[in-house]
Each structure stands twice: as structure tokens, then as C-alpha cells.
């Protein structure tokens, strides 16, 4: 089935999210839509799926014009969608989730799941999905949950499947499996619209690529195009993907973690007996699938975890068990995992956010007094140095884009005396331009003789930055490897498979 969008325009107030976008998806093709965060990809797909109504433009399916006012209309013409955030009820089983909204009942009004179960089993077998219809959704890994969404779309006879950033939540292995599934679906005649900003995946599966920038189609490409070409079109200026990185010259040990164990309130060990060292002038990346203890390890270095055993030395001095403030002022810069949650105070101004952890230190404050004029003038310097795009430093930080928010965090953390930089997922949700900035800054910190401990679930980032890679799995560091390790070997390690060295 082919789908054509003609001159779709959608505005939100003054923002033009989609500006006369036209594109055609042919029968049985994987059509990638490539664009940065905020380029308008999701808006376009929400229009196609009936969640939003366009201001103008039309949609046709198999060359016949259709009106899609609601997701049910989309399903009726054969368009299904798998959302970035799954629309599943965690405590329901797979079958219950799939029949939701289309329940069949027996004579007395009791739920009849047998037909759905059989159908799920059939599709699961046909595509080699390995999904048990009676499994409770919350017990399933994320990759399998995503397949449940795919099965749901297929059960309602979707001939065109929209996948919105499907790999954002997956491990490298799961990503590879998903790409295989996509090819298999295609071979069975399903068309796929694949929304992403990851170049490697596009090249792996797409038949054609449409690139969107700031709400407009800026070009189409074939998967044979190089990553540089695609990135340049996506960002709108030449992008250097390979970072210019000098050979590391590690010095003395700046961060030494010894026999560190972190437990939660109930005594469950989240981080188990970890030993790790970061020296001056090197970047150590902690790679691992989300939720294997990285968050707790990063927070423990800042004394944010209440139940810890072991030792954490900053430049030879143990700080574990002391206050957060002690950790900060012994020279730890901390880029937290979530800017919104614990990195910034959204209602505070940019200038106030820039001094959150030095507000009582000179020149900003002394004892009880604070000096707002100094705070403001120093903030002016920071926004110059870190290229923070804003009208005024007194604007609330919530008015900034994601990239600029992260720059505020970096500007705050790196503008005081720092020995070790602990950065947790520092580029999550950022656009290519901001990612470049963050990466360059990390390397600059390394070259200035600081120790950088980077936590990342993105393999590209790990490979671009790391001098050494520590792999975390189930709370343990199962191996520390040089950055020359192959992508597939690292993927295996992240899945907990440790090879016996010959």
C-alpha cells in the first residue's frame, strides 16, 4: 500500500511545525524520515495517524484521497503506529493489551481472549517474534514490549507501519533485532515509515530517506549517501562526525573508586564492589544498558546515595560519606542524567541556575549576603563563553531549548575549580549541534588535564570520546577494555557475555 502526503502544513501559534511537507511512501518500502529533535517529524506522523489535524494539505492512500480525523480512521485505512513511548498497560497481559478497545465477549459478557491469543501466537511465529500472549507486559524487556506494539498494529491489518524513534529505548542487540524484524515485515509487503535521527540505522535498512529540517523537507537521499552527507543535510551546515582527538596522556589518579557498594533502602545491592580509576587527562566511559547501576554509581560519587560502602578518592582524598557540598568543592563537576529533574530549577533565571552550587562563594555571595549584580555580570560572561542562546540572563531557564539548558549545566559545572568531570548521559535528547559542542567540551576538559568519567548508553558516543571503556552489567563492572574494541564485542559485553580471553 502506498501513502502520499501532499503539502501538509501545521502551525502551533507562531511556530510552523510542518511547512508544506510532501512525501510519498511506496508499496513495500522502508522510508526513513531523518531530522533533528524538533524538526517536525513527530508532528507529521501524528497528523498521518489522526492524532493531530493539519491546517492544510491532504493525505491519500493508494492514490485515493482520505480524511483521517482520529487514530481509528487511520487504522481503518491500514495505517498503524508504534509510539516512542509505548501505549501499554503494564499490569495487563500481552493479549489483554492487544484486545484493548476491540474486546470480544462471550455470551454472558465475559472476555473472550482465545481468538486473540491464537492470532498473537500466529503472528509471533510468522515473524519469529517470540512473544508469549499470556506474559504480563511489565515483566517483559523493552524490546519485547515494542514487539507487542508491532503485533497490535499488524492484528488490525496495518499495511503501513509508522515507527516513531523506535530505537531510542533499545540496547544495541535489540536494535539489531528490530532492524531484522523491519526487513522481514517489508518482505511480507508491509510499508514502514521509520522516524529517527540515527544515521547508522537509516543506512542499514532504509530504501529511501526524506530529510526534514525546521518543518520543511530539505532533500531526499539514498542509503548509499555517506553519514557526513546525511548529517550535513539534517543540520544545515557541514558537520564533523569524527572528533579531532589527540592521543591521551594520562597523569596521576584523580578519581579512585575502591570496593564501592551501593544499596537501596531495602538493602538490595545496586552497585556491587566496584573498582575504577580515572586519571588526569583521560576519558573513561562507563557503557551499559540503561538500569544496570550507572545512575547510582554516578550519584554515589557526589554523595547523593545514602547507603554506600567503600571508598571514593578525589585526588587522593576520600570523600565518601561526607556531604554533597564536600564532593562538589573537592573538585567534582557533575552533569546529572536529567537536566529537568535535578540539573536545573526551571522557574529560576538563567543567572541563578548558573550559581546553584556556588551561590555562597565569592564573588557571588559571602556569608548571608548575595550580590545580584555580580551574579548577572558573571552570567553574561558565561553565556558568551558557552554560546547559550537567550535574550536575557534574567529569563527563566525553562524558556531555553534542550541544548541550551545543557549548556547552562555545563557552564555552571565547568566554571569552578574542577578535577573530575562526572557526566551522565550528557547528550541525551540534544540536537546534533549541541552534541558536537558537548563532545568538544569533554575533550577540552580531558586535554586540560582533568579526569572525565562519562556514563553513556549510546555506543557512538562511547566510541567517539572514550580512551578506556568500563562495561557495567547488573551493578558490576564486568570488564574494562581499550576503546579499540569492536562494536559487536562491546555489545556482547553490555549484554553480560564475557568472553574468555585466549
Amino acid at each position: 500500500m502506498s501513502v502520499e502526503l501532499r503539502a501538509i502544513t501545521k502551525t502551533f501559534g507562531a511556530l510552523v511545525a510542518n511547512d508544506a511537507i510532501s512525501l510519498r511512501v511506496e508499496d513495500g518500502e522502508i522510508h526513513a524520515i531523518l531530522g533533528e529533535n524538533g524538526a517536525g517529524k513527530s508532528t507529521l506522523m501524528n497528523i498521518l495517524y489522526g492524532l493531530l489535524q493539519p491546517d492544510s494539505g491532504e493525505i491519500s492512500v493508494d492514490n485515493k484521497s482520505v480524511t483521517i480525523n482520529a487514530p481509528s480512521d487511520a487504522l481503518a485505512v491500514g495505517i498503524g503506529m508504534v509510539h516512542q513511548h509505548f501505549m501499554l498497560i503494564p499490569v495487563f497481559t500481552v493479549a489483554e493489551n492487544i484486545v484493548l478497545g476491540h474486546e470480544k465477549t462471550k455470551s454472558l459478557g465475559t472476555l473472550d481472549l482465545s481468538q486473540a491469543r491464537a492470532e498473537i501466537a500466529r503472528i509471533s511465529k510468522e515473524f519469529n517474534f517470540d512473544v508469549d500472549p499470556d506474559a504480563v507486559v511489565e515483566t517483559l524487556p523493552v524490546g519485547i514490549q515494542q514487539r507487542v506494539e508491532v503485533i497490535r498494529a499488524l492484528m488490525y491489518n496495518a499495511k503501513v507501519l509508522i515507527l516513531d524513534e523506535p530505537t531510542a529505548v533499545l540496547t544495541p542487540q535489540e536494535t539489531d533485532e528490530l532492524l531484522t524484524v523491519m526487513k522481514r515485515l517489508k518482505s511480507q509487503g508491509t510499508s514502514i515509515i521509520f522516524i529517527t535521527h540515527k544515521l547508522r540505522e537509516v543506512q542499514a535498512v532504509a530504501d529511501r530517506i526524506t530529510i526534514i529540517r525546521r518543518g520543511k523537507v530539505v532533500g531526499t537521499a539514498l542509503p548509499s549517501a555517506t553519514q557526513e552527507e546525511l548529517a550535513t543535510q539534517m543540520v544545515g551546515r557541514p558537520v564533523v562526525l569524527a572528533l579531532n582527538k589527540k592521543h591521551p596522556a594520562p597523569g596521576r589518579s584523580l578519581l579512585a573508586i575502591k570496593d564501592l557498594t551501593v544499596t537501596d533502602n531495602r538493602g538490595v545491592e545496586l552497585v556491587k564492589n566496584i573498582n575504577l580509576e580515572v586519571r588526569a587527562g583521560e576519558i573513561v566511559a562507563v557503557a551499559g544498558v540503561q538500569g544496570n547501576g550507572q545512575t547510582e554509581l554516578a550519584r554515589a560519587i557526589l554523595n547523593l546515595e545514602p547507603h554506600c560502602r567503600g571508598e571514593i578518592q578525589i585526588d587522593g582524598e576520600n570523600i565518601l560519606g561526607r556531604s554533597v557540598s564536600d564532593a562538589i568543592h573537592s573538585g567534582v563537576a557533575f552533569v546529572p542524567e536529567s537536566r529537568e529533574l535535578d540539573g536545573l530549577i526551571s522557574s529560576f533565571s538563567i543567572s541563578e541556575n548558573l550559581i546553584l552550587d556556588v551561590f555562597d562563594k565569592e564573588p557571588y555571595g559571602k556569608k548571608l549576603a548575595m550580590f545580584p549584580s555580580v551574579v548577572r555580570s558573571e552570567a553574561e560572561k558565561r553565556i558568551q563563553e558557552f554560546d547559550i542562546r537567550t535574550q536575557s540572563v534574567t529569563d527563566p531557564v525553562s524558556s531555553l531549548s534542550g541544548g541550551n539548558k545543557q549548556k547552562v549545566v555545563l557552564a555552571r559545572e565547568l566554571s569552578r575549580p574542577v578535577k573530575v568531570v562526572v557526566a551522565s548521559q550528557p547528550t541525551r535528547g540534544l540536537d546534533v549541534g549541541s552534541i558536537e559542542f558537548v563532545h568538544e567540551r569533554m575533550i577540552a576538559e580531558r586535554d586540560a588535564g582533568r579526569g572525565v568519567l562519562l556514563f553513556s548508553t549510546e555506543l557512538d558516543e562511547v566510541f567517539a570520546l572514550a580512551d578506556r571503556i568500563a562495561v557495567m552489567y547488573k551493578g558490576e563492572i564486568i570488564d574494562i577494555v581499550p576503546a579499540t574494541i569492536s562494536r559487536s564485542d562491546l555489545g556482547l559485553l553490555m549484554a553480560g557475555v564475557k568472553q574468555v580471553k585466549a
Binding site: 554533597v324 535535578d342 540539573g343 549576603a369
Partner: protein, 389 residues
């Protein structure tokens, strides 16, 4: 400058409109609760005009009782301002108590305990006031200092419990209000506090040296308390804006996680903020005793601690707004007495108007719908913060 005005207008628009709506609906209530008006139901024209007259009369009496009364001017023009003096007399303790709630709001805490803190301030001031004989000025300072210590400890206890054990301040303060009220009742039955020769719960009058000086001669009750209240309000504004403590209070109030990650000590903030809040409400109790009541009674705290919550809401948790809202509420209360005396309208209507103001503030969508507005700044985030603590 223009920008600042626009900002100012945006933040006062909602309270102003809410107040207007409350006055209008209060007027309807006054008109239709009057038996004279109801008796006219057979002729709708007369009903409306009579109803309108009754409401206007009631509000006129409210104005006379709170700001200026022509009837009092036959001896001296200045006497006409007696009601205004009453308004400011009531406003002083209310401003201080409401500032206590406001400051707690800003640190993300919901201080329902201003009532209890007020009582402890009143006890402290009263005890030093009647039990000791000290020189002028020093006696006042000593009485206030003891009031601050007692009420500060009482408030700080809440912060400490919250910081140490996670006990929710709303529950703790509600319960401590009962403790404070009954403690006061018991205290007034002891030989130390019971006035000689009296059976009813009333403490001896505070000595002359401990009484706050009056500002406009003996015929007006308005006293130094209002100056103290305004100075303290200014002090709280400075504390929040220009001190490291205030910065921490606001940070913890706006995002506790981020404040913690930035190395601020949340237990310290919670405890110290509650000490200050307790002392503020306690200062309200102290000036009530030293300024206008002069003797501690079982009902000395009235409903100051609860009105304070309403006032802080209406003042949008800003010191300046709180001062303005407190003066408004004080005027309603002072005027209500005159209204009851001069017209058949009961003083309870004032409570209804106060309640309606809060209702309309808490339901900004309603105000927006009535006045067909867009972009009215709401307070809901503030109140929600208070409860999530």
C-alpha cells in the same frame, strides 16, 4: 519600566478580578438574604431595586467601618479615620502571620501551624509583659525576644520532624495547633497566669512599659505594631531576594532534587525555614498582645493563623502581595462589625466574601471564563507545591 508595569499588572490581575467577583456575588447574597427584599418577590422591578439598595448600604457600612466614617467627624474631622486605625490595628498581626505562611510556601512547605505559633508568641510576650518590671523599650524588646524564642522553637520542631523523619508538615502542624490551643487553656488556669480575683481564663494585663506605643494619640488604637509588620515584610523580601539563605529556601521550594544535587542541605533549609516561620507568626501573636489586646485570653489568637493561609494565597506568596492582602482582609474584618451594627447584614457575610475570594483565586479558569481573558497567571502550581513537600 513598561515591562515591569506589565509584569506587575499580570500578577495582580487575577487577585483583583477574583476580589471583584467575590464582592459582586457577596452583594447578591446580601440582597437575597434580606427578608425585606424577599417579601417583594411579587414585583420583580421593586425586588431588584430594593435588593440593589440593600447591598449598596451594606457595602457602604463596610467602607465606613474600615476606612472613613463621616458620622464620627462632628467633633473633629480626624476622628472620621477611626475605622482606618482599626483596620491597621488588625492588619499588623495578620501581616506577620501571613508572612509566616508565605515564607513557608516559598520553601515548598505548607505551614498550617501559624495558629499554634501565634499562640506561643502571645504566651511569651504576655508572660514577660506582666511578670517582669523592666525599663521602657527594653521591656518591649525582652517580651518580643521571648515570644520569638518560644514560637521559633515551636515552628522549628515541625521542620526538624520533617527533615529527620519525613513527617508531613501539614499533618504535624494541624495536630500541633490543637496542642497549642489546649496548652494555652491549661496555662490560663495556673496560678502564674490567672489574673488575681478572676475565674475566667484571662492573664494579667501587660505592664505599661511593655505596651507598644500608639501612633496617633489615645483615641486611636493603631500602634507601633503596623510599623514592625511593614519592616518585617520588607526584611522578608530582602531575605528571599538578596541573601544566601533566601536563595536556598527558594531553590529547595522550587526543586528539592536540584537543590540537593547542588549541595544544599535540605534538612537545614527545612528546619531553619520553619524556625523563621514560627518566629514570624509568633511575632504576630506578640504584637497582638503588646499592641492592642494587652492581656492574654483563651481566644487571643482568634482565627489569625487560618486567615493567614487565605491571605498568603491571595498575596500569591509574595511579601508585597501578602501585605496588601492582609490590609484588605483586615479592612473586611473591621468593616464587618460596623456593617452588622448599622444594617441587618450579619458579619458572617464577610467570611463568605473572604471564602469566595479564595475560591475564585483557586479556580482561575472560572475567572478567565467570566471575564473572557487569556494568560492569567495562576497560583495552582504554588499550592500544589505546598502539598507535595
Amino acid at each position: 519600566m513598561k515591562n515591569r508595569f506589565a509584569h506587575f499588572w499580570r500578577s495582580v490581575k487575577l487577585p483583583l478580578l477574583a476580589f471583584t467577583l467575590a464582592i459582586l456575588s457577596g452583594g447578591l447574597l446580601i440582597a437575597f438574604s434580606d427578608p425585606k427584599v424577599i417579601a417583594l418577590w411579587k414585583s420583580p422591578g421593586k425586588l431588584l431595586s430594593e435588593g440593589f439598595l440593600v447591598a449598596i448600604k451594606a457595602y457602604e457600612a463596610l467602607f465606613q467601618g474600615s476606612i472613613f466614617d463621616m458620622n464620627l467627624t462632628h467633633k473633629r474631622f480626624i476622628n472620621g479615620f477611626y475605622p482606618l486605625s482599626e483596620t491597621f490595628t488588625v492588619a499588623a498581626p495578620l501581616i506577620l502571620t501571613a508572612l509566616s505562611v508565605t515564607l513557608a510556601f516559598r520553601a515548598g512547605l505548607f505551614n498550617i501551624g501559624a495558629q499554634g505559633q501565634f499562640i506561643f508568641g502571645a504566651i511569651g510576650a504576655s508572660y514577660v509583659g506582666f511578670h517582669f518590671s523592666l525599663p521602657p523599650v527594653i521591656h518591649i524588646l525582652a517580651a518580643i525576644a521571648f515570644a520569638l524564642v518560644l514560637s521559633g522553637l515551636w515552628g522549628g520542631l515541625v521542620g526538624l520532624l520533617k527533615a529527620r523523619t519525613g513527617a508531613h508538615e501539614v499533618i504535624v502542624t494541624i495536630m500541633l495547633n490543637y496542642v497549642a490551643s489546649y496548652f494555652l487553656l491549661w496555662l490560663l488556669s495556673t496560678t502564674t497566669f490567672l489574673r488575681k480575683g478572676r475565674q475566667d481564663p484571662i492573664a494579667p494585663e501587660v505592664q505599661e512599659n511593655a505596651q507598644l506605643p500608639r501612633l496617633a494619640g489615645d483615641s486611636f488604637r493603631v500602634n507601633f505594631a503596623i510599623i514592625i509588620a511593614l519592616l518585617v515584610a520588607w526584611g522578608i523580601a530582602v531575605l528571599l531576594k538578596r541573601t544566601t539563605w533566601g536563595f536556598q529556601f527558594r531553590a529547595v521550594g522550587a526543586n528539592t532534587l536540584a537543590a540537593k544535587t547542588a549541595g544544599m542541605s535540605v534538612p537545614f533549609v527545612m528546619t531553619s525555614v520553619m524556625v523563621i516561620c514560627g518566629a514570624l507568626a509568633g511575632l504576630g501573636g506578640a504584637v497582638q498582645i503588646l499592641g492592642s489586646e494587652h492581656a492574654l485570653t483563651a481566644g487571643a489568637a482568634g482565627s489569625f493563623g487560618f486567615d493567614a493561609i487565605t491571605v498568603a494565597l491571595l498575596g500569591r506568596a509574595q511579601p508585597v502581595g501578602t501585605v496588601l492582602a492582609a490590609i484588605l482582609f483586615a479592612a473586611l474584618r473591621a468593616g464587618g462589625l460596623t456593617m452588622q451594627a448599622n444594617t441587618t447584614t450579619p458579619i458572617d457575610i464577610v467570611l463568605v466574601i473572604q471564602a469566595l475570594v479564595v475560591l475564585f483565586i483557586a479556580a482561575p479558569t472560572l475567572v478567565r471564563a467570566v471575564f473572557r481573558l487569556k494568560n492569567v497567571k495562576t497560583t495552582s502550581d504554588m499550592t500544589a507545591k505546598g502539598w507535595n513537600g
